[in-house]
């Protein structure tokens, strides 16, 4: 504050020092330098010594009454201590003399503020996880079979046309499917068998949805022949290729077959009396 009284506007020259002789100090100025050779100069000054005359205050030969005199000025260092003057002379003003009051902007309760921050982070994570899961699920859904393909891969059979005790063979996805309308005696026989000791132990209840309808793939589990119905030692199917015997529930009982005849996915349509395989 005390400097304000001494503040005074000063116009400074580009050179900030003046020699004692009055010549502005330009320490690295070489007056004898040659201009660089320039082939495109168009004759504006040849390469060589400068054509502009050296100013008189810089020294040189001069004519006096007693003859020619040559003066050369020497750059002397200043006898007074030269201090670097800055380009402004005003007093520096502090930008922020005191820290502002931020208490108006501060949260009243740090705990609720922290819980709210974590809640927002968690909510964003929840939505992101849900979107990621949905993206992956929808992408995988494009790989599954479409509805028309699935509809074509099904076979519908009217069960009313199959009399009791008869076999029907239908083609489903290129393979034969046996449908057997079993009589009550056959059901009893299939259920009373000691299935726990069989090669592929399966009860008759596991293999059929309705006891009178036995539906299974007509492919021998040994090497893939088609067994013959109503033959064999157990009243079921007999494979002529290698002599495997299946009982009335389609279970392997004798011969090389390792497994029971396979059960395809099927469901009954009770309203229309049909079975849909596939």
């Amino acid at each position: 504050m005390a400097f304000n009284g001494l503040k005074k506007a000063v116009t400074l020259t580009p050179c900030v020092r003046t020699l004692p002789s009055g010549v502005p100090a330009a320490p690295l100025l070489n007056l004898a330098v040659r201009a660089p050779a320039d082939p495109h100069a168009h004759g504006h000054g040849a390469s060589g010594p400068r054509s502009t005359p050296t100013p008189r205050w810089a020294g040189g030969v001069s004519r006096t009454s007693s003859g020619l005199a040559s003066k050369s000025y020497i750059t002397l260092t200043s006898t007074t201590p030269s201090t670097a003057r800055l380009l402004h002379t005003s007093v520096a003003v502090k930008d922020a003399p005191q820290v502002p009051d931020f208490s108006h902007y501060r949260a009243n309760d740090n705990d609720s503020n922290r819980a709210f921050s974590y809640f927002m982070v968690g909510t964003l994570g929840l939505i992101s996880a849900s979107a990621a899961k949905s993206t992956v699920a929808e992408f995988l859904k494009t790989m599954s079979a479409s509805a028309d393909v699935l509809a074509l891969a099904k076979v519908e059979i009217d069960l009313a046309t199959i009399p009791e005790g008869k076999n029907v063979i239908v083609k489903w996805r290129g393979k034969p499917v046996f449908i057997r309308h079993r009589t009550q005696e056959e059901i009893d026989e299939a259920r009373e068998t000691k299935w726990q000791s069989l090669r592929d132990p399966e009860s008759d209840e596991q293999r059929v949805k309705k006891p009178e309808w036995l539906i299974m793939l007509g492919v021998c589990t040994h090497l893939g022949c088609v067994p013959i119905g109503e033959s064999g030692d157990f009243g079921g199917w007999f494979c002529p290729c290698h002599g495997s015997h299946y009982d009335i529930s389609g279970r392997a009982r004798k011969g090389p077959a390792p497994l029971n005849l396979e059960i395809p996915a099927y469901e009954f349509n009770d309203a229309e009396g049909k079975v849909i395989i596939g």
Binding site: D111, Y118, F119, G122, L126
Partner: protein, 64 residues
Amino acid sequence: MSFSTTLYNTFFRRNSMFVGTIFAGAFAFGIGFDVGVTSFFDRWNRGKQWQDIRHKYVEAAEEE
């Protein structure tokens, strides 16, 4: 102890609890979102879908 402190100590303090809550919440949110959007769609298109007009055709076919 205030509600926010209880919330922080229960769900946010452990990362396992935090991430587990997020995944469980995402599961529930997905189901709820599906149900909500489906019910809105059905309400918006009431009377236009097969499930709404099925009785007109199926019963008539059985009567004939």
